[in-house]
Subunit: 363 residues, 2 copies
């Protein structure tokens, strides 16, 4: 890695930092410990991470796209994307949540591109419907990130309780607003209130800032992280610093540790068919439906029933449904899930039960 330069060019080329370390059991039985959500091809033939990288590369270039991932997923990701340079795969020694993962990425960017380099933090596991509008939103957010921390907010289409929200403040410029405040995942009445109010956006989890700005915020709001990042930047062997210090960092989300404490955050509202696929129910919004409103993926048949999400993975058994409504049924080679669509989040109960029963081979 090169030493940090303060301001290498008048308009430093931006970087993407893709967060691909999530485990995620909400898409069990397809998602597993060693095959997390971002490595699933839920939208068709392309994995979520593959689609995310394709989009990131088209805007930032493959050379300026870093992937931060967990140590147990790194080999699989390196194999899946051979055209990604090994230096662009940043490995967390252990999962320490998003604040630490983003810090790791920001330190790498700072060493390569300098403190002024803008960074786009992109969660790997989101689905994007309209890629042209998505790219335009990225460019707008990156431009604004040279002066402030920026996020992208999605105008809500329904009273979703699975996302955090952003209350929009005053307009700063064309398509750019102050963030009045971040709001935790609401209950249903609150979500309906936010939807009706019209000045709330879904928190996409995408953040934009310069490397230097993130380092400042980390020093102020999460000093353990700030100290590690400073040591990385001053060291001839930053990798050794990470190995020594990373596991001791607090495992805390960037929203909670940094964003909710930072001043002057701005938001770019943008609608591009975004979904973070928090559960199987989200398949409803990213796949075509049959005349009865069923989403059917793979070797499945749904007779005389509607509103179901039915998935049979490659190599899994044929799945046949008769006369059922609004169910999620997912089959892999070794496991089958059946849950009402409105309770898709409760797949966690099965995962917990399997842990309790020592069924590690299914996790």
């Amino acid at each position: 890695m090169a030493a940090v330069e303060a301001s290498p060019t008048p308009e430093t080329r931006p970087y993407a930092v893709v967060l691909a370390g999530g485990g995620g059991t909400r898409l069990w039985p397809a998602s597993r410990r060693l095959r997390p959500k971002q490595l699933l091809a839920l939208g068709g033939n392309e994995t979520l991470l593959g689609a995310c990288l394709r989009r990131a590369w088209s805007v930032f270039g493959a050379d300026h796209t870093l992937v931060v991932t967990a140590s147990d997923q790194a080999a699989a990701i390196a194999e899946m994307f051979p055209n990604m340079g090994p230096a662009n795969l940043v490995v967390e020694p252990s999962p320490r949540n998003t604040a630490a993962a983003i810090g790791l990425g920001a330190a790498c960017v700072a060493r390569r591109g300098g403190a002024d380099a803008p960074i786009a933090v992109l969660p790997a596991d989101a689905h994007v419907g309209d890629e042209a509008r998505f790219a335009a939103a990225l460019r707008a957010a990156v431009a604004a990130a040279r002066a402030a921390i920026v996020t992208i907010g999605i105008p809500p289409s329904k009273p979703e309780t699975g996302f955090g929200y952003i209350k929009v403040g005053k307009a700063i410029g064309e398509g750019l607003f102050d963030v009045a405040r971040f709001v935790e995942k609401p209950d249903r009445p609150k979500a309906e209130e936010y939807l009706a109010a019209g000045d709330y956006l879904w928190n996409s989890g995408m953040f934009f800032f310069t490397a230097g700005r993130f380092l400042e915020e980390a020093r102020r709001s999460l000093p353990e992280l700030g100290a590690m990042l400073d040591e990385m930047l001053g060291s001839g062997d930053p990798e050794a610093v990470v190995q020594r210090r990373y596991n001791a960092l607090p495992a805390i989300s960037v929203d909670y540790a940094i964003m909710e404490k930072a001043a002057g955050i701005r938001v770019v509202p943008a609608r591009f068919g975004w979904n973070d696929i928090g559960s199987w129910a989200a398949m409803d919004e990213m796949r075509d439906k049959d005349a009865q409103g069923n989403v059917a993926v793979g070797d499945v048949a749904v007779l005389d029933g509607g509103g179901n999400v039915v998935v049979s993975e490659q190599g899994a058994p044929f799945v046949g449904l008769v006369g059922v409504e609004d169910l999620v049924v997912v089959a892999t080679r070794d496991a089958v899930l059946v849950v009402p669509k409105r309770r898709a989040q409760d797949v966690r109960q099965i995962v917990e039960a399997l842990k309790t029963r020592g069924r590690a081979e299914l996790l």
Copy 2:
């Protein structure tokens, strides 16, 4: 085979004729063309045919228990029951329904035991809860069969629409009644009426008569069958007669072709936990339930839901249900079925759809 004797002993030892030729798709995906219902171990470790034979052997002896089956199942059955003599496995050249299958068995009994030998016709695919009471009912029915055609009727426990009914007539003796008439499978209001009336029994499909009496009835009511049976009895090579004539017989049920036209039929009412397992919903009545009323067989988990029938066959995926009620979920290695319990009969729709799609490997 020996030639027919008119009356070899004062009290001829009875025979059982087990009907094991059924195909049956109502228990798909477990039941298949080459693995019909009677070869499934739905009740635990024992196949339905295995349990039927064990019960028949205990009453009639293995030497006096014939099995009539279809040509494509004969090899599997011979292999499963090596202690059954090959001469006791009677193979239909093609499936011609129960009248022809019973006729085949009756001709074999007539050649071996003479016209006076009583025959107990036992469908192979029924479940019996109380085997001692079942054996007692068999003995009572066999005793009465020396003088009349006899059936066993089951006092109904609910307004079942999947069975035929028997209206009971006047008492003939201790535990023996005239059959007033046979009634086809009723609709729900009719079934409730029969249940409330108290003088209707479920038609178990078990029939008892002497070989000679069946031959008489066949000659009168189904002459094509009577002619073939007479030719078998007069031939030195009855097997050749069967090969030449059987496929041309009308495919018709014994109820419709013979029983509904015969005079003086009697019925032995008996309650012994009988179920013909017409669909997965019947598993409800033959297996223990958990505290939430779920029947769970194999590697399955049902969380926060009740009244489900969940089956994972040996070698099939783990099946996890969360928050669903009154569903049937059955997994085999290559197929998964999901259907509401009250619509368990509609599994046929899936089977038909698979036929239409040319998916013979799943049938």
